[in-house]
Symmetry: C2
Subunit: 664 residues, 2 copies
């Protein structure tokens, strides 16, 4: 037992945020304030002090943010992350000798005790601080020592010893030689804004031709982009744009046999024309693709590509690199299976076989190929069927060069697997949102996502539909259901997306009752969409995206609160911006058929409201305003009008025009 | 990235039990079953398998307990700890290649697919297992390979491949070369039974004389021990038995000045006659003390000593080792303070000063001195005012030689400090039990203690009273309050104690209204107790201790459940033995004045009862029996009769006589 360890009296525990006790990074976005909490204490009655130390991983020098006491040995400190990349923080705590002495002195003085000897003790503590101090502080501390030991009156010396300024001065030069340091440096992975706040629009480029039955091109896609931008999206996600295999090509409606001229699924990647680093000739050339990326950027949007690491049987890899695949006993390459289902049009890679090393490098080069073309967002197809360590490696490799790259994990699988993909590096994750079909289920799911450690690493991306998922509630519920799901996806989660134009045109016929597969799905055939149909949801989608963009409360998920209601068809929730200045309250009805009424019981503190305060709720969907007071208020939602309110809350005496973000 | 790491596909997370992510040991007692939970999963659809590895720290060889799946990637395994001392466990998981293949084969066969090639693949997996296997297993596996590759009928070969026995056989020889191992070895600190289940009786030896006004001796104490044994206690805890200082000695009722002949507080340790390794001459000799230890042992009890590491001003240490104390600027030794309060009769040690090394060794020799005299239980006075690292060192040093030593922390301080003392080695801890004065507060406190990580390291010891604490509810509530607090202390916590005879004689007058100090406290003067008083609680205390001893449900705190009731004066809770065979249901009224009635809403699964089952509740305090059915039952408690029921629950058709532990 070293003497120094004996004097290390402070204990630091219960450090938050951490993921798996510090094994994985905590996620934040640029400009976030990272608030750190810990229990810090020592034996006996002494006060403790401490600080959060933080730095960019790339710099050596730590900065410090002082711990503020919250009571019950609990402390807090916070710092801003002003750069993307990895940051580190840890905590340091020490016995506050001067503070403890000053507190005791105050108690003695208040009790009218003689403190002559205590002033001598204090002078010793201050003299030690003076030795550690520099410049003017050292001088001021030395002067205080002299005063305390002088023959000035007891009153004057005591008054000087109890001064608040002296506490600050001596506290700035504490004895940290026996400080305790938390045994982990927690990594904070700071990503750009769009990692945490994004609105995605998925579309099939081949269905963008102006003429029905014609294969769309990258130029058609470029012509479609202004429409997407008008809807208010900022990420345009394209299913694979590569050549499509011909062997075992699927026909319309997933027909195992394919008629001549059928175009196949874009996820059956690779043919004679090339593989993952080529574009489908019917879409255009790589140069055309470059123009798509540029056109999106000009509209303030980004292109996201699909990263589906699998091959059609006629992918050049299958011929040139058989060592990248598993083989059956007869020597043929093993196709994809989920027994008894067989996917003979797909060859999965063998990620841990003999050819793993060259395979991994090749796949990294695939990502870098598109990154070099300006793509910085990837939606990764089925990452849960490839080894975790492959993704951990790949994402690290790419982000070392391009730290602004975003990876969305399309893993619809078990919760622990989805969480682990998020821990090892995926920026965002698909979720179970689509299958939460009642207000109670939705509330429970969001509570899991935002009130557990998951909020530190799992960024949900909510999708009301995808080309693979036409949920039953959209099939049955029609327009009100589409709007309700849109509002929930866009306001419950700071990242969300729709698969369009199927969404805004309320495409809702499945191949069969009980199936979630679209009839005549674009996955296997061209579709032609009438974007100008009178019943299109494009107006309300644009409105919802405008509300998202203008209300900082909707740019994160940490400050989500649920409120009680008497009607169990209603989901009532609110979000606040980090500074508390913007508060959004959403009320959604899950019933697409009937008008519902009910009382909502607001958690006023969660809304930043006082119990006695009257306030105005301003429906940002309709521009209607209601005057409310207190926690209990009445709501009616008629699905034929709108199945949701999206209220901005204004305490009376304020107005939304006071907020600088308002107005076009 | 090494090839081996690439193939290490299994992830292990969420391991329970652990304390602070594995930084501190988990506590158990001899013969406990340690149940370990973890999330274990890999990418893709493969099955995983795994085991908990465990061993005594002193042996090299690991034993293994297989993980059983609980669904949702959650697994469990358990093992018995058959020895005191440190045990270690960790978890190992791997891909279950054979199991995955067999499951897929079954799916293919069920779908009527051709499985010829699959049998070949399986033969390869089994052949690999055969290479790892030994003896008969290897032979059996090789025979299966031969059969699968033979020209036997497809049906016969398939049947052999799908056999459950084959799964067991191949599963016993898995490929662990790419297994993942949890990154911690969790320490399990296994202590003897009394660490987890004990009933303490505190008494002042000097008040045990048969004649009033005479200083009791160790022989008087020996004569008192059968009385304590009859009450059913197993630990007899004595306040310090050392010589008492004369300088600044306190008088009766904590009077700062002491009249001639007054005897002082036993916690003011040390005088000319000796210090921590001496006994007070008025009590007797060390030989007499040895006889006390032996007499207690003969009655099935143990003596616990008070370990108060502080000195009276005339303790020999103060003269011989001034370097073990802090000094004031005038050179005098610094007395104890909690400004503005001064305790001039007490000198605290300076645990991290210049003399720390010899001081620590001396204090260790103090403990060893008493350990060598057969004392194995210590109640440690105010451990929170000494450095944590001192206790960590001292407890480790003592338990290395005498692993059966038990330390009870008398730390009435902030929650984080109390928890930390438990983490670093204290066996048991005093608690806030005394200040939980309503059913709701008590329920919340027990939920904190038993439903959080605290249950793994913090063993509560509940005291209705101590020489320092005569709570207001006993002062006001009288007999019903004493009984209610006794029943709760003894049944909510597997370790509890009372300070007697003050408790059984319902001593309840404080020095002043609002104070918790006893008037005429034994801390400062002799008391003479009439143990045969007609109203003594000794009968019910003996009954409660007998109930504790006979009902394994009351030997631990892990399986504590609370039940709802319509009367908020009632606290309703139950405990089950680890095997579920013994169930105790307690209903206590917090109101000492009025008869209360109410409905209790039983959580039937927590009681091991089916909703439709009728059952008998047998009040072990009164021997009354009631027939109950379903969850809702009526209860009346009259404080003038008894303020509590302690029911044993018998599903009808069974009887308590079926249980072997019943009967005298």
């Amino acid at each position: 037992m070293k003497a120094k360890d004996v004097r290390r009296r402070v204990v630091i525990s219960g450090v938050v945020p951490q993921v798996d006790g510090g094994r994985y990074p905590v996620k934040r976005t640029l400009g976030d304030r990272v608030t750190v909490y810990a229990d810090v204490f020592c034996d006996g009655h002494d006060l403790v002090a401490g600080e959060v130390l933080y730095r960019r991983r790339s710099t050596k020098k730590w900065s410090a943010a002082p711990l503020e006491p919250l009571g019950n040995d609990h402390y807090r400190a916070s710092f801003f992350v002003s750069d993307t990349g990895h940051w580190l923080f840890t905590i340091r705590g020490w016995v506050d000798r001067f503070g403890s002495w000053q507190r005791d002195l105050q108690a003695r003085v208040s009790a009218g005790q003689d403190v002559g000897m205590d002033l001598e003790v204090g002078a010793g503590i201050i003299a030690a601080a003076a030795k550690r101090a520099r410049g003017g502080d050292a001088k001021a501390l030395r002067e205080t020592v002299a005063l305390l030991l002088s023959d000035e009156s007891r009153e004057k010396r005591t008054e000087a010893a109890l001064a608040d300024d002296l506490r600050k001065l001596a506290g700035a030069w504490p004895d940290r030689s026996t400080a305790t340091r938390h045994d982990r440096e927690v990594i904070v992975d700071v990503e750009r804004d769009r990692a945490g706040f994004s609105a995605w629009y998925e579309l099939f480029p081949r269905s963008t031709a102006t003429e029905e039955g014609v294969h769309g091109t990258f130029d058609d896609l470029i012509a479609r982009l202004p429409y997407v931008a008008e809807l208010g999206f900022d990420v345009v996600y394209l299913p694979p744009v590569h050549p499509i295999g011909r062997i075992h090509r699927k026909g319309k409606n997933n027909n195992p046999t394919c008629a001549p001229g059928e175009i196949g699924s874009p996820w059956a990647i690779g043919a004679d024309e090339g593989g993952h680093q080529a574009v489908h000739p019917d879409l255009g050339t790589l140069d055309d693709f470059n123009r798509v990326v540029a056109a999106a950027r000009d509209l303030g949007m980004e292109i996201a590509l699909d990263m589906a690491f699998q091959c059609a049987p006629d992918h050049p890899y299958a011929r040139e690199h058989p060592e990248w695949f598993r083989h059956r006993p007869d020597g043929s390459i093993q196709y994809a299976e989920n027994p008894p289902k067989k996917y003979q049009d797909i060859y999965p890679f063998d990620f841990d076989g003999e050819g793993a090393e060259t395979l991994w490098k090749e796949l990294r080069s695939v990502v870098m190929f598109w990154v070099d073309r300006g793509v910085r967002i990837f939606r990764v197809d089925n990452p849960h069927t490839k080894p975790f360590c492959f993704w951990e490696w790949l994402i690290r490799e790419v982000r070392q060069v391009y730290p602004d790259t975003i990876f969305l994990a399309e893993a619809f699988t078990r919760p622990r697997v989805m969480e682990h993909l998020a821990k090892i590096g995926f920026t965002q994750s698909y979720t179970y949102f689509t299958w939460r079909e009642s207000a109670a289920e939705m509330r429970q799911y969001l509570t899991e996502l935002t009130r557990s450690e998951a909020v530190e690493f799992f960024r949900p991306n909510f999708w009301p539909n995808t080309p693979d998922i036409l949920p039953g509630h959209l099939q049955d519920g029609g327009r009100p259901a589409f709007i309700a799901r849109l509002v929930m996806a866009a306001t419950l989660s700071s990242c969300y997306g729709i698969y369009g134009p199927a969404f805004e045109l309320m495409e809702r016929v499945a191949v069969a009752r009980g199936s979630e597969e679209y009839i005549d799905s674009e996955k296997y055939q061209l579709r032609h969409w009438d974007l100008d149909r009178a019943d299109s949801l494009k107006g309300i989608i644009a409105r919802v995206n405008r509300i998202r963009n203008r209300n900082p409360a909707l740019h994160g998920n940490r400050d989500l609160s649920f409120h009680e209601t008497t009607n169990d068809q209603f989901l009532v929730y609110s979000k606040r911006s980090p500074d508390g200045g913007n508060v959004i309250l959403v009320i959604v009805s899950f019933d697409p058929n009937y008008t519902h009424t009910g009382w909502v019981e607001l958690d006023l503190p969660a809304l930043g409201l006082h119990p006695e305060e009257s306030f105005t709720v301003h429906d940002l969907l309709t521009d209607d305003r209601y005057s409310w007071r207190g926690s209990r208020n009445f709501v009616e939602l008629n699905p034929d009008v709108l199945p949701a309110h999206v209220f901005e809350i204004h305490p009376d005496g304020r107005d939304e025009k006071d907020f600088e973000y308002y107005g076009d």
